[in-house]
Amino acid sequence: MAQAAEAKKRGKARTGLSKEELLRGYRDMLLIRRFEEKAGQLYGMGLIGGFCHLYIGQEAVVVGLQMALRGGDQVITSYRDHGHMLATGMEARGVMAELTGRATGYSHGKGGSMHMFSKEKNFFGGHGIVGGQVSLGTGLGFANWFRGNDNVCLTYFGEGASNQGQVFESFNLAALMKLPVVYVIENNKYGMGTSVERASASRDLSKNGAAWGIPGMQVDGMDVEAVHEAGEAAVAHCRAGKGPYLLEMKTYRYRGHSMSDPGKYRTREEIQKMRSERDCIEQARGKLGELGVDEAEIKRIDDEVKRIVQEAADFAQSSPEPDASELWTDILVEG
């Protein structure tokens, strides 16, 4: 209790985020939530096409981990990537414009929801083949090792992808060469419609690297502070040259796998229970209240986020489609 009081006096929350950091985390999670809700709306209006995988429910994972990184570190993930992009600081308008297939999108409208990148923010995609980004992320970490710097690559994948052969090949390579890669399994319980229990014989995915001596940790992925704390430990391990680290984030997605998911594999009650008892944004809001942040401050953040998302949606609808000449650009680097 004395410690908690001391922490409170210093403006520190219980597991290590300062009031300012938690406010930032709250804002970033809320931005992802509102962005995804808007993307869902635009999809329903036919403005976004193809596959669209929303991140609603899982926001604490990317936001908490991003706070453990520093400039120069890399991030790579699968096709459920909008949250990761916003967390790395990519602009909401550029992401939304890519979703609507416009020239102003991050990939000039040629990648779409699942394939977006930002060299500037060290975000390496956005990959559509389940598990493919895990070997790629291992290679991003390899480049850090090759150059002899202490940058770290955060490589995200779902618990569904965690059964892919190349994931284990990557674990072996990273452990063998001591590559600075934090593997993050976002275990949202369902790979499309198949529950983790029906897809993986492993009951503790954080131990999936044990055969190669990769340390792992299970983390409450609905608690941004717990995520951040685990991220700090994992990143420090990699930066110190001790090789890869595996984090299993126990999280949950509220929406379907993609927009066309009938959701027959779980009950409404299950989703409702997670929403009402474990929601990452509500938890953070509660903690901010305990830290003395007033309602006006929360409201100010809510309004700012709403404005950014609306501006992004307007931008994404008013931007022109790519010129036909874009068909033939960026196939090969010229010269």
Binding site: Y106, G111, F124, G125, G132, S135, G139, F142, N172, I331
Partner: protein
């Protein structure tokens, strides 16, 4: 009774080797399993174990002898007190199975630059060494490329010269290490990935196509992938269907890749250097049988060839033969045979399959009015099908006969020696195809 010890074949493609060292001397007792000699093949130095027992009665081939043909008697084992004087005399040096140097001076005449003979294997090694030296972002990785010196000895000496960070042995996990290399390329390095053969790259083809070839486009030009995937492609010798396949048309099908298939040592060196320097993913299709063949190679320090340009290896007026990789040699032999029959064939070495230098082929067809493509791979949707279709599009009115193609038979490659030979294009197939058109 005396037993002959024969020069053993120690790899599928070995036809001769160097007797590097005798580990037993005349008069020594030899038991089955004893190491009696060391032999250098085209791939490695190997120990030879005795199969029979006895006393080493006579050494027929002294150590240091090079070019000793497989099955040549190299020693005689006798039992105590036996007279082995009737044993055969030392074997003559083997006649080379293939002409060691391409006879046609035109075959390598890019310019009047100074040249020296080089095997394709040495040319590839030299190309990698030159680029490893020139650019510290370049590294080589793959199975057995470092300590073993390359499964086919292509990376010989590179570990010693450049160290373990630039020349990296990988586990046998093509999917994983290929993805890792692509990620490294996206992060600004320039990997050379050696596949022990392209057959094993099928495990990794998702990363090659979906990640390496498409990311530049899908990222709106942000994420390039400067990487070379190289290794032997196509049939080797008696290794059957899973190890004998031409992937040229598989990769050439895909936008976002460049695909190169060298024939001569000059092709190998000049094109590999260009491939390593290229800012795009390049598939570099080598051929195991060509590794040991020698060609005249320009000696200039800065020798490099452009990707996307074909080469007229032999000029002619009556028919255009279009080939790549080992089939250029088959086309050249066919051209010789045709010349004896009064038919003048022009031979084009494509060198690059994507981009395809159709202009050079079309210019030739406008002169000869006939085309026969020659490829080792299967016909369906093959390179020959593509070249011939493009010729129809470009110069239909110049054709005096339908475009024709010679290709490997449409079957998985069989193991039996006779069947394998029946399945792969031979010079007389090309001659027959040409004679149908004239």
């Amino acid at each position: 009774m005396a037993t002959q010890i024969l020069m053993p074949a120690l790899s599928p493609t070995m036809t001769e080797g160097k007797l590097a060292r005798w580990l037993k001397k005349v008069g020594d007792d030899v038991r089955a399993g004893d190491v009696i000699a060391e032999i250098e093949t085209d791939k490695a130095t190997m120990e030879v174990e005795a199969v029979d027992e006895g006393k080493l009665a006579k050494i027929l081939v002294e150590e240091g002898a090079e070019g000793v043909a497989v099955n040549t008697p190299i020693a005689v084992l006798g039992v105590d007190g036996e007279d082995v004087s009737a044993a055969p005399a030392p074997a003559p040096k083997a006649a080379p199975a293939e002409p060691k140097v391409a006879e046609d001076a035109k075959a390598i005449a890019d310019a009047a630059a100074p040249r020296k003979p080089s095997t394709v294997r040495e040319a590839l090694r030299d190309a990698m060494a030159a680029e490893l030296k020139a650019d510290d972002r370049v590294f080589l990785m793959g199975e057995e490329v470092a300590q073993y010196q390359g499964a086919y000895k292509v990376s010989q000496g590179l570990l010693e010269e450049f160290g373990p960070k630039r020349v990296i042995d990988t586990p046998i996990t093509e999917h994983g290490f290929t993805g890792m290399a692509v990620g490294a390329a996206m992060n600004g390095l320039k990997p050379i990935v050696e596949f022990m053969t392209f057959n094993f790259a099928m495990q990794a083809i998702d990363q090659i196509i979906n990640s390496a070839a498409k990311t530049l486009y899908m990222s709106g030009g942000q994420m390039g992938c400067p990487i070379v995937f190289r290794g032997p492609n196509g049939a080797a010798s008696r290794v059957a269907a899973q190890h004998s396949q031409c992937y040229a048309s598989w990769y050439a099908h895909c936008p976002g890749l460049k695909v190169v298939a060298p024939w001569s040592a000059a092709d190998a060196k000049g094109l590999l250097r260009a491939a390593i320097r290229d800012p795009n993913p390049v598939i570099f299709l080598e051929n195991e049988i060509l590794y040991g063949q020698s060609f005249e190679l320009p000696t200039a320090e800065d020798f490099v060839l452009p990707i996307g340009k074909a080469k007229v290896e032999r000029e002619g007026t009556d028919v255009t033969l279009v080939a790549f990789s080992i089939m250029v040699g088959v086309a050249m032999k066919a051209a010789d045979a045709l010349a004896e029959q009064g038919i003048s064939a022009e031979v084009i070495n494509l060198r690059s399959l994507r981009p395809l230098d159709i202009d050079t082929v079309a210019a030739s067809v406008k002169k000869t009015n006939r085309i026969v493509t020659v490829e080792e791979g299967w016909p369906f949707a093959g390179i020959g099908a593509e070249v011939n279709m493009q010729i129809v599009e470009h110069c239909f009115d110049w054709l005096d006969a339908p475009p024709a193609r010679v290709h490997g038979l449409d079957v998985p490659l069989p193991y039996a020696a006779n069947l394998e030979k029946l399945a792969l294009p031979q010079p007389d197939w090309v001659v027959a195809a040409v004679k149908k058109l004239i």
